[in-house]
Symmetry: none
Subunit: 181 residues, 4 copies
């Protein structure tokens, strides 16, 4: 078993369940079943651990969302499938999804990590752009549309982590109703 992954996993669990401040390096080491010093062989500091975890999870989320995306499918279908996948990721990986929420506006996340992660959204933007060109999505700044959609869906899923398939679909369709022209 990979030690670095153990550490990331332990940190994720404690950060989400106890809060970052309450999760000391000592405790993370104990949870990861390794020495404190070992953690510093893999991460230069606690902040670096947080940032690496953040980038890793965000990348995992987008990889998951965007793989198998059929760029030639109708825009609405792409929209629905994309956001359903996001919701499924959240449901299947509650720790990861909650972590992203907690740290997305944290001062602990470096500019560099933030920039790195922001690029991941581009393929999603393209779906909206395509829809706007086709005249089926409102002619509003694309980033604003994504932020609106993401805010709505993320809020919904975080407070209903046990939502069923119909519930998820209803939420995505509400989001579609919001942005469709």
């Amino acid at each position: 078993m990979n030690k670095k992954d153990n550490i990331l996993k332990a940190a994720l669990k404690l950060f989400v369940e106890q809060g970052e401040q309450a999760s000391s390096m000592k405790w993370i080491a104990k949870e990861a079943k390794c020495g404190i010093g070992t953690m510093y062989n893999y991460f230069q500091s606690k902040d670096e651990l947080i940032n690496e975890l953040y980038v890793e999870i965000k990348t995992k989320l987008f990889t998951n969302i965007l793989e198998e995306l059929n760029h030639s499918a109708p825009v609405k279908q792409q929209f629905v499938e994309t956001w359903l996948k996001a919701m499924n990721f959240a449901v299947s990986n509650p720790l990861e999804y909650t972590f992203l929420e907690i740290f997305s506006h944290s001062p602990k996340i470096s500019k560099q990590a933030s920039d790195e992660v922001n690029e991941l959204i581009y393929p999603v933007l393209e779906i909206f752009e395509k829809g706007k060109k086709e005249g089926i999505i409102k002619d509003i700044d694309t980033l604003q549309l994504v932020i609106f959609t993401n805010g709505a869906i993320t809020s919904s899923i975080l407070r209903s982590p046990n939502i069923d398939e119909n519930g998820k679909k209803a939420i995505v369709l509400m989001a579609w109703d919001a942005i469709k022209s």
Copy 2:
């Protein structure tokens, strides 16, 4: 000059600009131009300061939103006016609104404070209920509708703090499109 208000104001500023963890009591005292001990005459602990600030601002927000609400106006008008007021509050009080976002899911917020502010949302729920009864709002769990709406609008306003009147209106109307049946 009110000392307690000075402290609350200084804490708000630093919490939002530097993060809570990076804002030591020493620093808050300096910003509030008072001694450290003085803060403890008004708040039993840093946590209590945070919680009091949270309840105060949340109450201020809802007071602002709900005053002058015309309960006999059409549901759509009530919906639009309510959320426009929320956005206006956010634009006029960016520190306050950001603070609420940062701390709304923080482990620092006590159960008691959380319960206290949760009651403030009831009048908003009623608007949705009325719309559902009239058949003009989707027949989905009311709380879920509010969370969806709030998530969408909060995300939007936080990342476009300089939005103009038309921008605000566009966002509220998107939210209306999402929930209307």
Copy 3:
């Protein structure tokens, strides 16, 4: 009612019941039903309050012990009456007596207060001196005899604050057996 006495009384109570360290000036003021500032009109500092209390109580104890002492009575009788009075003082004034024990070796008691109080013992020393001259008390350094006696009796009374008359007499007679030749 005298404010200064109120303060001394409140301090005595709290020092004995809660410990000196746990008895803040604020708490003493509250117990004495006066403002914090008022205490500083009567005592320059907390330490001065402690020392004044110490000297006052020790003086009260010795006044009580030595008044009515019949210097022409037989030595044994003087001895017994003196120490019985000390025990009665302890039983009647448990707070005062415990206070003396707690502070008798405290670094808070100033050299000056200590010297002042040490003079009070002289009349008691004289009883022992007289007994030694008469050959009915062991020929051991007088101060050592007093310390032995006082240690024995003080220990005994502190752990049996509800002792009865016979118990007190038994202890004093044990002390007499110890020092008599």
Copy 4:
């Protein structure tokens, strides 16, 4: 070099020489030539340090007193030897003995520590019991006899730390005179 022992030794020295309140953890660390944090690797808190020191020293005292005690020797001999050993311990370990005196009635000593050390006295009680059965010790509550004896001897030794062998013997014999029937 044992760090924990260094800390205990430094704390003992400062507590006795400066008082507990005046001996900050920072100062103890400096005296023990270690960092402040190091102390917290060995003791959870300052209070725990005090209690551990108390139990350790009291145990050392009684181990010292009771080892080699000849239970079949005459009661008077057992009595004399036991208390002579206590006095010798006090003379050889003045810091330790003074520490016990200072803290024996301190509110810092926990009920648990107190209970733990109270059991150490049992073998001493047995000597008195035996003497009472033989009719050579006064028929007074045993614990009271021990408290009387201990109070007398402890007071004596604390104020004459440079006492010689004859002086010690004289004091123990005074104590014997007090309790013998």
